[in-house]
Symmetry: C2
Subunit: 222 residues, 2 copies
């Protein structure tokens, strides 16, 4: 299968997951989301990324739908639990994390919103994840290795240092309050799939700065 993954720099690309089998060839195309090209709407009427295009031109959109598709299609190392109950609980956790993503994205795109209230809201949501990780008693939400929850959360946790860069040290998470998430973050950075797509916070900051300036450097990784 040949696939084309349309993404912008701020999205998890397919290589953020474990390497696909060798016979799977895919290209990544970064898209300027500030001035969307017309052809993007042919691939996805919503005009959003990511988009996965396969042989024959058929496409999927929505990062979670794409992630679950890849997980089912290439099932040699499933990211979702095989236990339907655990899988359902993980899906709810991913839904809940969308609140954190939305709040973070708003801050990244308009740093004027960066005040105590908005950061407190994010911290309030994150406590659920700290408690859940503690309750699971393993280094990752997926257990001994990262699973679907870990990989769906990661791109936004990788960017969380942006808050510190944008707002100074007072926006750091409390190490006492978020001990488990801090350990999780360090462990995630050692994961092969994460390493492969990892960008330094300063590079993320550079991208968002270019985007705020009206000229997003969407090929910043290239």
């Amino acid at each position: 299968m040949t696939s084309l993954v349309l993404t912008d720099i701020s999205q998890l690309t397919a290589d953020g997951f474990e390497k696909l089998p060798d016979q799977t060839i895919y290209d990544v195309v970064n898209v300027n989301m500030s001035e969307k090209p017309d052809w993007l709407f042919d691939k996805n009427p919503n005009g959003k990324v990511p988009v996965l295009e396969v042989d024959g031109g058929d496409t999927l959109n929505d990062s979670f739908v794409i992630a679950e598709y890849l997980d089912e299609k290439y099932s040699y190392r499933p990211l979702h639990s095989r236990d339907p109950w655990k899988k359902a609980k993980d899906k709810l956790l991913i839904q809940l994390f969308n609140k954190v993503i939305n709040a973070l994205y708003k801050l990244f795109l308009d740093p004027n919103n960066l005040d105590k209230q908005s950061v407190d809201n994010i911290i309030g949501e994150l406590i659920v994840f700290e408690e859940e990780l503690d309750a699971r008693g393993k280094p990752f939400f997926g257990g001994e290795r990262p699973g679907m929850v870990d990989y769906m959360m990661w791109p936004w946790c990788e960017r969380s240092d942006l808050l510190r860069i944008m707002g100074g040290d007072r926006w750091c998470l409390s190490k006492q309050k978020f001990q488990k998430l801090m350990e999780w973050r360090n462990a995630m950075k050692e994961d092969d799939a994460v390493k492969e797509s990892y960008l330094e916070p300063t590079l993320h900051a550079k991208y968002f700065k270019s985007r705020l300036g009206g000229y997003p450097d969407y090929d910043i990784r290239v």
Copy 2:
């Protein structure tokens, strides 16, 4: 397994799906969503229905997460396609239908919004479903039998006659434009699972009227 399904009258209840195996016993508890009881927030911090509670008190929320859980747990007649690509496409279709649900719900809860523009918006969204059903060339989105898309859409299509009751015949869908969806609707009404939970449009209208009046008759089916 004993389950408790918390729902209000306007939600699909678990018995809207094919009958669960005989050893599965579940109770349905209807909830007054205008004056939510405190215990609902113990079952689901969001305070939304449906909620599925299993032995031991653990819960799931979100109608689609619950539906997928039941589909995986009781897999003797899967509602989702086993083909990951088809399944992913169906999930996108269900996401798209959420736009119709949101638009319909707004109209049901505030009939003052019932104008040509809002109905045209719904019709615009529904055309995608008419074309998709036509392209699939089968009576149901799931093929020869209803599948996940069919059952996720159905509760709202069952209620669509409310528009006619509320707004008169001018809000009927065009039989020429929506021939496939009309045939689908008639076929769905013959499905055993649909029959079991089917409510006449006049009963739906009575419920929404009671809700608009401030005293929702949430046990209207009992």
